[in-house]
Symmetry: C2
Subunit: 321 residues, 2 copies
């Protein structure tokens, strides 16, 4: 009997850690989410996680065969196998690939969630068959995974692809990284919330969002208001798209991709963000690149997208051999 | 008798075209420069050029053997073998690799001068042994060649690596590309001349440069004034370095290189530009990259640098086989 190979994809988040078993063609045969408990050491998380995975594997039809482990995690270093001082996890710096050898002898790989998303799009999503593309994840921050000649760009130290920390305005908004004016202070879920409050302070545009405190306002609510033609919310999307489009024009000047794929929470606003971003990107492009580069929404399905990305990371490694 | 292989490196410029025969280890055994005659068709140039090359080869010791041709030219496309609407040459769009088959059956490759410089630094210069680096050419414009995992980044269409056309300020200086505020309007030979005139208009700094008209002022004179501690000239270098350093911090966020190498006319100002650029780059770097990335001067020797770059392009292709 022909056995069907699976890989385990793990997406480590500050609150929840999602994991699943995924086939070579991107079908998820098992998935689960557990609390991360960010205050506890990494080993505690992986001990619980592999307990669940081992139980799940026992229940699976014997035709399945798990052959590798891919992990997406904040501040992960692909080369070293480490997670280094993640902001939302009390892990310090820990070698995750070494650690999980305690639980499984399978080949494994780790990278940050944006890089995992990029490989996920390449194997299972909107970048299938593409050799040159960029994935931008728009969530709590702005992450990016750059693919050149079919290979993820890790750079000399494994930390390449920090487009969220390229500078829009050196005197601009305070960034969590300690600098000012990084792209992610504008183009991210908190970024568009800040833009709403900047517009409340600067304009007299009528808006239901004026009733909201900053802490209670979500990017989803801004999108909902915009869909109801709330002028201030629409203006906030336009401003976000303008800055994002301008910086994506820069990113095209770097690697001349076939497409840029928008992924993550804020990208779920769909055409509210895609269309104006495309417009402003085209406006700011160097002539030779105009009309060549697609902006596409992610094709990795919602809740499981991060699991697919993490699984794709190790499928991609296994495919190299 | 062991024969020594050479390649022909050709650097096409708007005024002069330099070419030479170069060994695998970067020694030039013959070199010459002829007028390009930018108004005449490309074929005319290559006809004269190969006439000279053939004569030179006949005179060479018979132990030499020419095995390939590399060309650096403005608006060259590596994938297509074309030069497309070069601004300083009346060539239109022409397939150069096809054209030179009329003169030589040898394997050939073409790219723009900045990409050729990057491969030149990798094979013969400051990037020897490096896998991830960026070469910035500071001359009439700002060109760049990005190397990732030992491979030049050409992107989907062959035009990647246009860092000179990333945007510093969307309301900034008019660029030759039709847009505003591109990096090359600040960091290039004309860019620093513009900065001198901006500083003359904005400050009362004493300076011998106040005696100069814009058309008569050269970047070399600004460097000479700065070396004599002319305050305005020093301020102009500082301003140039500040903008360049800030944008190089962005470029590190993209590809996390081991080094950035400065090449070309303005880079000949040496520490006048290298030291403040390094300082401002470090100031603007994301924490994880601080203190990791070298800024180095080109190690391709002066007048022959472009020939070495063009020759390196084809050596690199031949080495792949």
């Amino acid at each position: 009997m022909q056995r069907i190979d699976l890989t385990l994809g793990i997406d480590v988040g500050g609150t929840n850690t999602a994991f699943g078993l995924v086939s070579r063609d991107g079908k998820i045969v098992f998935e689960k989410s557990i609390l991360t408990f960010a205050e506890l050491p990494a080993e505690q998380l992986f001990s619980r996680l592999f307990n669940d995975v081992n139980k799940a594997v026992k229940k699976l039809n014997s035709k399945y065969n798990v052959i590798g482990i891919g992990i997406g995690a904040p501040n992960a270093n692909y080369y070293k196998g480490t997670v280094e001082l993640p902001p939302n996890l009390n892990w310090g710096t820990v070698n995750i690939l070494k650690l999980i050898k305690k639980f499984s002898p399978l080949p494994s790989a780790i990278t940050n969630d944006a890089n995992a998303a990029a490989i996920g799009e390449m194997l299972f999503g909107a970048a299938k068959g593409m050799k040159n593309f960029i994935v931008i994840t728009l969530g709590t921050g702005l992450g990016s995974g750059i693919v050149v000649n079919g290979e993820l760009v890790y750079g000399e130290d494994g930390f390449a692809g920090e487009i969220g920390h390229t500078i829009v305005d050196p005197n601009g908004r305070q960034c969590g990284c300690g600098r000012k004016g990084c792209l992610e202070t504008y183009a991210s879920a908190p970024g568009i919330r800040k833009t709403v409050f900047e517009l409340i302070s600067k304009t007299n545009l009528e808006s239901e969002l004026r009733k909201k405190s900053f802490e209670n306002l979500t990017a989803k609510e801004i999108a909902e208001a915009a869909m109801k033609k709330d002028k201030l919310a629409l203006e906030a999307f336009d401003y976000t798209a303008k800055i994002l489009g301008m910086k994506l024009a820069d990113s095209i000047a770097y690697t001349s991709p076939e497409a840029i794929i928008l992924f993550g929470g804020l990208a779920l606003a769909g055409n509210l963000i895609l269309l104006p971003t495309k417009k402003y990107m085209e406006q700011h492009l160097l002539n030779i690149f105009k009309g060549k580069v697609k902006i596409l929404p992610s094709k990795l399905s919602g809740n499981s997208a991060a699991i697919l990305g993490a699984s794709a990371l190790i499928w991609n490694e296994l495919n190299k051999n």
